[in-house]
Amino acid sequence: MSGRIARAFTRSARERRAALIVFVEAGDPSLEVTQRLLPALAEAGADVVELGVPFSDPIADGPAIQRASERSLAAGTRLTGVLDLVARARAGGLDVPVVLFGYANPVLAMGEAAFASHAAEAGVDGALVTDLPPEEGQAFASTLRATRLDPVFLLAPTSPPRRVKIVGRLSRGFVYVVSRPGVTGVRADVPEGLAELVSRVKAGVGRLPVAVGFGISSPEQVAAVARIADGVVVGSAVVLAMEGAVAAGEDPVAAAAALVRRLAAATGR
């Protein structure tokens, strides 16, 4: 518990708005771009940055983040490079909380304990490993907690009350609610029953903030989710904005920052 994540949620609650959590893929299209991107996201209004660690087989991701992951790997991004990047950003004064978001195999390849200590040293605040559900991630979660990192777990519309409780017990920082079945990606709507799902989760996880993601991409959707949840996660839309900018020969950092500014303006309650 570095405390940065908790402080970010406390601040947004005080300002009567939801925290904006922005996902970007580290190393897409290069780590140099991500280096410039992190302070720009914070400046544009991201309360928390979820930094994707690329993986060759991202089963939970839709086409936008799959392509970002492929671009990042093609550029030679490695987990150690991502950690170095965070360390450099912290040395440069970056204060926004950073949560690493990825898949189990790269973490296991480094070793869970080594991952936790390197990440903590680099100034990472938390980690969410998509394919480590509570059953498989208990030991990892306590390793993270012991190194003052926040373990973040997912909950889904299908998670029964028993699992909500377990996730509430293992998590620190916040709990990430997947808004709908399926993979990450841009969708037009906010799923029906989301308010009910969020209140059910809130009742089960105690005081932990609850953030909602998957399919949230427009300021209108952010506004709708901000009314019911403590945090809103936007990922694919930012990744696509950067992809579009690169294709048009424009600066992906500026494109991401412009979108984040519009999203941040929609987080009020």
């Binding site: 492929e70 790269p106 559900p133 059953e135």
Partner: protein, 407 residues
């Protein structure tokens, strides 16, 4: 022969020793748990078992024969038998599992099935079972595999299945599994994912094994009959995910005296990306929902694989195999593309049986090793027939006149 091996079974969380488990995103936990319950119920239900047995015998063609390969035996100085899964309907062992899972999907009230396929055999088997039981079916297949298994793609379409080309990653089996999992996570309410090997999150490795264990049960009875009550000395099967191998081995696991050898794809060379031999260079990792031996680089990225046989071209192996190897009960060897191709010809010429390139790997290892074991009895799991491979082998060997068959 009296010596017994204590056969480990998956625990409640699907662990075979340190392998297996359920490494899936939270959204998949509910469908995986639903499937676990439904399968446990079906397995305990005599009417399910009866219905499946009926399909296997009256539709798929079980029991399959155990054929003595007399000319090969004479040449190699060992008694070699072939367990003839190639004679099953659709041409490979895959139909055992496809019928079981589609029957289960019906019982679960699912109205749609999906599958991944590498060589196309599991896709064809699932398409067949879906046609038989009246369920719409979508099969995900890497575009590289679509290219080299054109015949099976057309067979699936004939059976009324929609084949979706997967263009991501290495465009082979692993990417097809990624895509099938993405479909399942979005559509599990009405969709069952018919996973085609002893891979994936619990309960798949155990369930798929159970559906194929009939191979070994039949072999045991048949072998005892021809061997005067004895068991064979050695069983050999090819291992991609490992479904036909575990199906053949399982009824013999307790018989510590029966040697069990799985044969992996040695590909073009031992260099990374040039083969699909997981034992040895593989490290313990997580892929597609299970913890097992995986071909990955130092950074945990899954490595590309190569095999002349699409069905063995996969970077991970079933967790039960990984555990049996760790316990020393089974052992895994590899043969190269060239050895497999030579065996493809040898079995065709000497026994009048054209094997699938996958199965040819098991044959190739026996061709290499049998002379070292004079007088021993060896059963090869002949998991499939080679008709599907004829065009690509013809193309590889430069028989231009035949190459047109593929298109």
């Amino acid at each position: 022969m009296a010596e017994k091996f204590v056969v480990p079974e998956a625990d409640a969380s699907g662990r075979f020793g340190e392998f297996g488990g359920r490494f899936v995103p939270e959204t998949l936990m509910a469908p995986v748990e639903e499937l676990t319950r439904a399968y446990a119920k079906a397995r305990a239900d005599a009417s399910f078992r009866r219905e499946l047995h009926e399909l296997l015998t009256t539709y798929a063609g079980r029991p399959t024969p155990l054929t003595e390969a007399r000319r090969l035996s004479a040449e190699l100085g060992a008694r070699i038998f072939l367990k003839r899964e190639d004679l099953l309907h659709t041409g490979a062992h895959k139909i055992n599992n496809a019928l079981g899972q589609v029957l289960l999907a019906k019982r679960m009230g699912k109205s749609r099935v999906i599958a991944e396929t590498g060589a196309g055999q599991h896709g064809v088997a699932t398409a067949t079972a879906a046609a038989l039981m009246g369920l719409p079916c979508v099969v995900y297949m890497g575009s590289v595999d679509i290219e080299r298994q054109a015949l099976n793609v057309y067979r699936m379409r004939l059976l009324g299945t929609k084949v979706v080309a997967v263009e991501s990653g290495s465009k082979t089996l692993k990417d097809a599994i990624n895509e099938a999992m993405r479909d399942w996570v979005a559509n599990y309410g009405d969709t069952h994912y018919v996973l085609g090997s002893v891979l994936g999150p619990h309960p798949y490795p155990r369930m798929v094994r159970d559906f194929h264990a009939v191979i070994g049960r039949e072999t045991r009875l048949q072998a005892r009959k021809v061997l005067g009550g004895k068991l064979p000395d050695l069983l050999v099967a090819c291992v991609g995910g490992g479904s036909n191998a575990i199906g053949l081995f399982h009824a013999f696991l307790a018989d510590a005296g029966v040697e069990l050898v799985g044969v992996e794809a040695g590909g073009r060379s031992a260099a990374p990306g040039e083969h699909a031999a997981r034992f040895g260079p593989g490290r313990v990792g997580v892929l597609h929902g299970t913890r097992t031996l995986v071909l990955a680089d130092d950074d945990g990225q899954i490595l590309p694989t190569h095999s002349v046989s699409a069905g063995l071209d996969y970077p991970a192996v079933g967790p039960e195999h990984a555990n049996l190897a760790a316990l020393g009960r089974t052992r895994y060897e590899s043969v190269t593309d060239d050895e497999a191709l030579a065996a493809f010809h040898a079995l065709s010429e000497k026994e009048g049986i054209i094997p699938a390139l996958e199965s040819a790997h098991a044959v190739a290892w026996v061709l290499r090793e049998a002379r070292k074991r004079p007088g021993s009895t060896i059963v090869i799991g002949l998991s499939g027939r080679g008709d599907k491979d004829v065009p690509s082998v013809a193309r590889l060997e430069g028989l231009e006149g035949l190459a047109g068959v593929a298109s």
